[in-house]
Amino acid sequence: MRYLPLDGADRRQMLARVGVPDIDALFADIPADKRLSGLIDMPLRASEIAVERELGAMAAKNVAAGSTPFFLGAGAYRHHVPATVDHLIQRSEFLTSYTPYQPEIAQGTLQVLFEFQTQVALLTGMEVANSSMYDGSTACGEAMLMAHRLTRRKKAVLSGGLHPQYADVAATLANMSGDTIARLALDPRADEDIIAEIDDSTSCVIAQNPDFFGNLRDLRPIAAAAHSKGALLIAVFTEAVSLGAIRSPGEMGADIVVGEGQSIGNSLNFGGPYVGLFACHTRFVRQMPGRLAGETVDAEGRRGFVLTLSTREQHIRREKATSNICTNSGLCALAFSIHMTLLGERGLRQLAKVNHANAVDLADKLAAVPGVEVLNAHFFNEFTIRTPRPAAELVEALVKQGIIAGLPVSRLAPGAGLDDLLVVAATEINAPEDRAAYAAALAKYLGGSR
């Protein structure tokens, strides 16, 4: 078998050295009646050709986002990943290396993480960031738990602008750890009164900007209100490119910032693996979950990097750890960092500008379709439209014409009475003709017979 280097002669020699007659002697501790006598009920080994055929057939049944006019965001965004990124993350030394616990032979990984942490801190406007979490939604849940530890309170207030699945994750965690959640109703027009929900028992307010519906929210009043009650503001974002155009959560007074980094350097991958970004004030760093790379020197006085503040983590604190996390999203963080380096400040701002321009163009075109209302006065690259027909049906109809029109809110919030809302995204990959085709198809669908 092409991945197994030992041959029959090797095995015989090794068995002889070990001093057992056959391999099953080494499995003698398995209770006799629990040993499998035959093979598992699965096909036998397969060649590359066969495996490629089988999985290729599955892949061929899916519509690739880049192959068709594509306007879906809602927490994961279709951007162009430069060829350099994918090439570099496939280098053996990045792809097949382990967690940098032996720093002398892992300076590549550690320096990348140090750069990544700095990029995330700068992007979010915060003092310090960790070396990544699994994704934005779990980072959000962990931030909530961190706020509980810091404030010694157990009630989180969740904005109705928060991605419904992020809120579900937080609710599941809270339910399991005996904490409380005050979850505001979904808020498509960004007119909730979240400040009224903050009181002396609140540990944190979790608010998203741009929010799930694409609205831009000023978090400054929320930060002030939270702080006045001794609570923390956790700011969430799902579209990292937005930070190239809109005011950072750090500037608005956030205490902890969490977000999804997938937009930069990482493909859609049907939902994973993604990369969670996590940043906070320096004074909170000992309560921050996840790994941290830190700068130091070696015995010859040369600058080097190591994992540090490990005593927060599970392998040392065990049941007193800040979290149970053992893995970060290393390779995805690397991809993020490479893409961010390729963009630079200038490139990121330009990329953000193009995204916004395309979204503005699309919003104008869709608003011109009779019966369609664009809800958002201000947005970045995503906005919500209200249509006279259920959004889910609209999406199915447009799929038949090869257009992925956006996310019907009813898919993530079936009982919320928002069946007429569709969340639409536009990025740099949408060509003007795509947007025109979408508007035309929409007009036809809405104007046509039932």
């Binding site: 000992r286 490990s310 005593t311 040392i316 604190r317 007193k320």
Partner: protein
Amino acid sequence: MRFTKDHEYVSFENGLATIGISDYAQSQLGDVVFVELPPLGVKFAKGDAAAVVESVKAASDVYCPVAGEVVAVNEAVTKEPSLINEDSQGRGWLFKAKLADPSELDAMMDEAVYSEFLKTIA
């Protein structure tokens, strides 16, 4: 000075107990990087976790060896954790407490008994 099996010490003077970790404990931990001290005024029962001393590779809970109320903490060790390595039984003290029952000290090991105890676990 009295010692516990978990390598805390108590030195008692003028009604006030000074608590820290023994020299043996600091040598086992390695370079101390961070100390978490209890808040002033908190009351501990004997055996409550009172402080945390962290080195690069380990975090050690410090248990309060006698019941008492925290009346002072050693800010110096939070600024300079290396004090605990240099002089854990002197300048590297952790906190001072007003004891609920000073007779609890009688049951603890004195320096000689503790030295013998250390030999058994070496």
